[in-house]
């Protein structure tokens, strides 16, 4: 118990929580945008890998860090466009298209990494984003600008969704595409735009790993974070504010298990049980939220003009 209090009293713990949470915030916002428009995007796991790789590669080849973030966003957008083409244009199964894109993006990234660096064993490094020491806010001043970006995007996307005409169209095509079409909103165009923008965010979520949290690209570095984001969106009932809360809560438990493990040693409880905790909590959250889950009504339903 005292160990727990010691951990919670330490600012380093909260710094780690916010850092761990950043890619989850970005990824969850990305999934949220797609799903509010009615499209599930299971490509996120692979898109994060691709964003992490291309963003890092761009910086390694000499581009500035923010250009690397831009490259990662463009990579994400490109895969988003592919997903939109398959699910909106051709009305393929959103589950399968997303999984296919995850496989494709992951394989392409690993292939590209191996072609670029055939013989290296230690991954080449870059100089990542520096902490914002100039900020007079504790905990936030130990983060990089990408964390600030993620935090600012939460109210920005909430505003976009709830207060702008574009956001209204986006929500309409996710709830009732037929009605939206009747109002003169193009379902295909709106959905495509939402998927492309959301996937760009997923790319940036991946780039956070290579350009901020670490300074190199590793195999398996995304390691299920994308899937966690898909669970977090349900937990958040498709609301940006709750998405932030969920991402931070998850990161809290993740950081906590790491430190509890160090504090108590693995003699008492196997460390694997701690590692299971965040995943088990995700499932629990899904169950608890399920009863009052307000799914976008048209989620996973392909829309074909003039067909019932």
């Amino acid at each position: 118990m005292t160990e727990l209090l010691d951990i919670l009293a330490n600012p380093a713990f909260w710094i780690a929580t916010l850092r761990t949470g950043t890619p989850l915030i970005l990824g969850t916002l990305g999934v949220l945008m797609c799903e509010r428009a009615g499209v599930l995007n299971l490509g996120i796991e692979g898109i994060m890998v691709a964003g992490a790789f291309t963003g890092w590669l761009a910086v390694y080849l000499g581009l500035p860090l923010w250009a690397g973030v831009g490259v990662a966003a463009l990579t994400g957008a490109a895969f988003g466009l592919l997903h939109a083409l398959l699910t909106v244009g051709l009305a393929l199964s959103q589950h399968v298209s997303g999984l296919g894109i995850t496989m494709l993006a992951t394989a392409l990234s690993y292939f590209g990494y191996r072609v670029s660096f055939p013989k290296v064993n230690t991954p080449p490094t870059i100089t990542p984003f520096a902490e914002m020491a100039w900020l007079p806010v504790p905990i936030l001043q130990n983060q990089t600008p990408l964390t600030l970006l993620a935090l600012l995007l939460v109210p920005a996307i909430a505003y976009l969704l709830n207060r702008t005409p574009a956001g209204l169209s986006l929500r309409m095509v996710g709830e009732n595409p037929r009605a939206a079409e009747g109002q003169g909103v193009s379902v295909a165009a709106t959905r495509t735009a939402a998927i492309v923008a959301g996937s760009a965010l997923m790319g940036v979520a991946g780039a956070f790993l290579t350009l901020s949290a670490f300074n190199a690209f590793f195999f398996n570095m995304v390691n299920g974070r994308g899937w966690i984001c898909v669970a977090l969106v349900v937990f958040a009932s498709w609301r940006p504010g709750k998405a932030l809360l969920g991402a931070l809560l998850f990161a809290f438990f993740d950081a906590l298990q790491l430190r509890l493990q160090q504090a108590t040693g693995e003699a008492i409880v196997p460390y694997q049980l701690y590692l299971m905790l965040p995943y088990a909590l995700s499932i629990l959250a899904l169950v608890l939220v399920a009863r009052r889950a307000a799914y976008p009504q048209a989620l996973m339903k392909p829309y074909r003009k003039g067909e019932r």
Binding site: T106, Q272, L275
Partner: protein, 356 residues
Amino acid sequence: MRLEKRNRSSALALLLAPVGAAVFTLLVSGLLVLWAGAPVAQTYGLLFKGGFGSVFALSETLTRAIPLILTGLAATVAFKARLFNIGAEGQLYAGALAAVAVGGMHGAASGSGLAWSPWLLFPLMLAAAALAGAALLLGPALMKARLGVDEVVTTLLLNFIMLLFVSMMLDGPMKDPTAMGWPQSVALQGELELTKLVEQTRVHTGLLIASALAVLVWALLKFTVLGFDIRAVGANARAAAFAGVPVTRTVVLVALISGALAGLAGAIEVAGRTSYVTLDMSPGYGYTGIVIAMLAGLHPIGVLAASVFVAGVLVGADSMSRAINVPTYIADVIVAASLLSVLVATMLTQYRLRWK
């Protein structure tokens, strides 16, 4: 761009669709080969030779196909009923772990003077594996049927939990004390191992079991009441319920069958190839099974062909990569790209694209 349903699809188009998809995939992947600085034709030649070009290559391909057939069948059955089981990877590990737990009773029991006949223990071992796999999918299926929790996410998350559980077991109670500290389970006794089909190769009788199960699943879907119910639920759950199909019961049964098949994949891998459980015994067979089910158009017999194709690409890429400077990840690109292009091709046999 809009889609228009075709009144009928020509037989030629249906036949050409997968061929066209394969050609398209090879053309696109060829660009990557060029990027790697290798001659495309030679690379594909080596890949084909490495996967199918000799008795040894073919035996390696068939060995690799065995777990893929079973995970492919697991995905096929589930997807037919629109139960999106993405958890075959975890179910495979659950099956492998259960198989070793039961199979290991041989040694423990004989120590206490109670020798189990392998004729009794082997079926028991397979049953335990099937049960373990089925149990792992039961939770998500019930959550889907009763609470409406999306099974994609729950089955996916359970993969991570299961892998950690295996890691915990291999670090603790099930660790082989003679493994020099490696996290691996005690090996199965020789009598419980599946015999080899061909001398000097690794291909084992698991191939026959998996093929027989493919035929069995096909017959189940085509000729039984349950099969009809599965297809009805998959086509339209609400209409099926209205027509008196017991939807919840069907979904649960499908989950049990699908999970059992994936669990068997783990047991048969252990009994046929690895003989003990390790944390890397599956390089994602559960996920590749999804691709195989889709490539096969959710047809159990098609799963056999798709498994051999995918296994051939994976095995061939390994041997190609040793001979020439193209990373093995090209195989994963080919598999993923062929999944997407087959889906598109199939769609285009049923719908006509109108640009407007």
